[in-house]
Each structure stands twice: as C-alpha cells, then as structure tokens.
Subunit: 112 residues, 4 copies
C-alpha cells in the first residue's frame, strides 16, 4: 500500500493536479467511478453478470482500480491509514452485527 | 492487504453473507457507501469541509473504510489483486494523460 | 409541473437557500438522494423488494420525490423545460434503439 | 406529465423492456444517470461550470432528462403520482426545516 500511495502521489504531482483534489472533489470522483463500475452490471441477471466479467474482466478491474485510486488518495490526503481504518471499521461492524443475530439474515441490512 | 482481506472474508463467512455478495450487489453497495461519503461534504464550501473533517474525522474515515471494504471484497471475489490493478491502471492513466499535455489543466478531464 | 415548480422556488427562497443551489451542488444532491433510493433495495431479491415496497411504500415515495425535487429545480435554474427535455430525449433514444433491433434484448445496453 | 408518462410506457413496451424494469434495476439506472449528470461538473469551479453549461447545455439537459425518465417510470410502475409525491415531500421538508431556523444556514443540512 505504501508503494502504491507513492505512485499515486507522484502521478498527481507530476501533473500539478493537487489543486483539484480537495476532499469534496475526490468524493465526487469516487462516487462517479463507483457508478461506472455499477454500470457494468446494469440490467443484467446473475448469468449475464458472470458472462460479462469473463469477457470484460480487465475493464471491470480498471473501474475497481479507479475507485480505489481516488479512495486511497483521499485517505492519504486526510492523514488516514486506509488499512487501519478498514480494520477499525470491521471491528465496529462486528459489534453492530453480532454473528448470533446476523447469520444468514438479509433484513438486518434495513438498519444500515 | 492480505491480512485485511483475511479479516473481511472471516467477517462475511461467519455471518454466512457470501450468498448476498454477488458482484452486482457489491457494486450497488460500493456506490451507496460512496454517496454516503459524499454526503459529508454536501452543500459545503472549502472552509466548511475543513471544519467538518476536523469535527467528524472518524465518521469520514469510517465511510472511506466502508467503500474500501466492499471494494476489496469485490476484487477478492473476482480474483483481482487490488494493489496490482491500481498499479496497472495508473500506468494506463499516465499514457492517457501525458505530463506535457495534462500539467495543471482541468479541461482534459472532459475527455474522461 | 408549473405549480410544483412554484412551490419548490418558494420553499427554497423562504429559506434563502439559492446561494447553496448552484448546478454542481444540486447534481451532488441528486446523486446522493438517488443512492438513498437505491438503498431501499440493497441486498434484496425480487420477492424482498416487493415486500419492502408494500411495508415502506411511503418512504420509497419520499426518496423518489427527493430526487425529483432537486432535479426539477436544477432544470428550472438552467432554464430547461423538464417535460420538454424528457420528450426530446425519448425521441433520441427511439433513434438510438430502433424497435426492430432492441426488442427484448438486454445486450444493447452495453452500448450505453 | 400524463402525456410524457404515456410516451415512456410506449417506448418501453414497444421494445419489450418491462421485464428488465423492476424497481431495483430502475433505481440502479437512476443512480448511474445521476452520476453521469454529476460528471459534467467534475473537478470544475463555478466559472468552469457556467462555461460548460453554455457550451454543452443540450448534453446536460439530456442527462437531466435521463434521470427524470427513469424516475417517472419507477413512480408510475409503483402507482405513485410523482407530482403529488413531490408536493407531499415539500410539506414534510417545510416542517423539518422551519423558515425561522433554517434561513440562510447550511449547517442544518448536517441533519439530513
């Protein structure tokens, strides 16, 4: 992760793009890229999703990477250790959804 | 990243949630969480964003983590090495936006 | 539509909120509200969606209305007649997806 | 609105697309189109947004219409009168944000 963060910073700074990359603009771009990822599965049922991933796997990977790049940069700019934040949030989720109650149940998601 | 992926898989499997976590549903959740992150900056100008991050930094970090957790799981389920995919996409971006042309220019974004 | 636009303008102006409602901020809010609408269907299969709508129909209608209110205001602020724009876009879509080719086929969506 | 709904239904049914247009898929498409609208303002400051709208007004109107078409169809399919739902939600918003407290203040948005 440190290595890829280094590459993200270099890519941005070589182009002098930091001035555009305030938190609000990065969050906008994360949302736009997430929707582009979702577009790959638009209207498709399970079988069609599977076929699409087989045929367009690299494009799907690129969209996932686009979201991840902006997300990693936003965390970096805010001084957040992304891996640490993920671990910390997983712990909170584990308390919010105890195994005994959440096991195999979709309805708990209503409380999100 | 391997360690956090291990925790994500364990969290999901202890709750028997893999059956909900097909690619389309994960992409939906990535988009929803991205919009919740964006909501932190809704209507705010730069100064208000800065103040909000100071006062609600942990909540912002949690939203970033929510997006990252689903994103890492989607990549994992599709057999994609997320860090590798990020590196590969950064290379493509570097070719698409050569420093000489892209430096300090926002208009190039129109071509995204 | 004219009547509801009048109410939207009045609601906004009584609160002096026009200063926040530039096109970029309105587009952000449209996206956030759209994701909140989508959240109602998160993780759910067809049967669960049907049940959810029966039990939470008013909340779903409220989320649809939230998107529509911001959307109608954005069009209004840009001097766009929303109903006219919808008719014009439907004509373009009809040319893009001729009945003979598009009938019952999901794959055409890949070209969006 | 009745007239445009009639056109939307006809466009869909001539192509036999109702089978794709369940509420979850329509909500996905509303979110994707909302993000495409937002993409027009990505990275731009106020002046650049103004210039972009002058030069690409028809494309922006088309994106607004795309969101509106799917939104109107979703409401129609769920038996919701969209204009009525907007009026009803505006009333709720007026109670939630009384003029005396909300006037000119952005911070209230934090409670959304």
């Amino acid at each position: 992760m440190d290595d890829i963060l280094q590459k993200i910073r270099q890519f941005r700074d070589e182009r002098d793009w930091m001035k555009f990359h305030d938190p609000k603009n990065l969050a906008i771009s994360i949302t736009i890229e997430a929707a582009e990822l979702l577009e790959h599965f638009q209207w498709k049922d399970d079988a069609e999703v599977g076929k699409h991933i087989q045929e367009h796997g690299e494009e799907v990977a690129d969209e996932i990477a686009d979201v991840a790049i902006y997300l990693a940069e936003l965390a970096d700019n805010l001084g957040i250790d992304l891996i640490e934040a993920m671990g910390s949030k997983l712990k909170k989720n584990a308390e919010k959804y105890p195994v005994a109650k959440a096991r195999g149940v979709a309805t708990k998601y209503d409380q999100l």
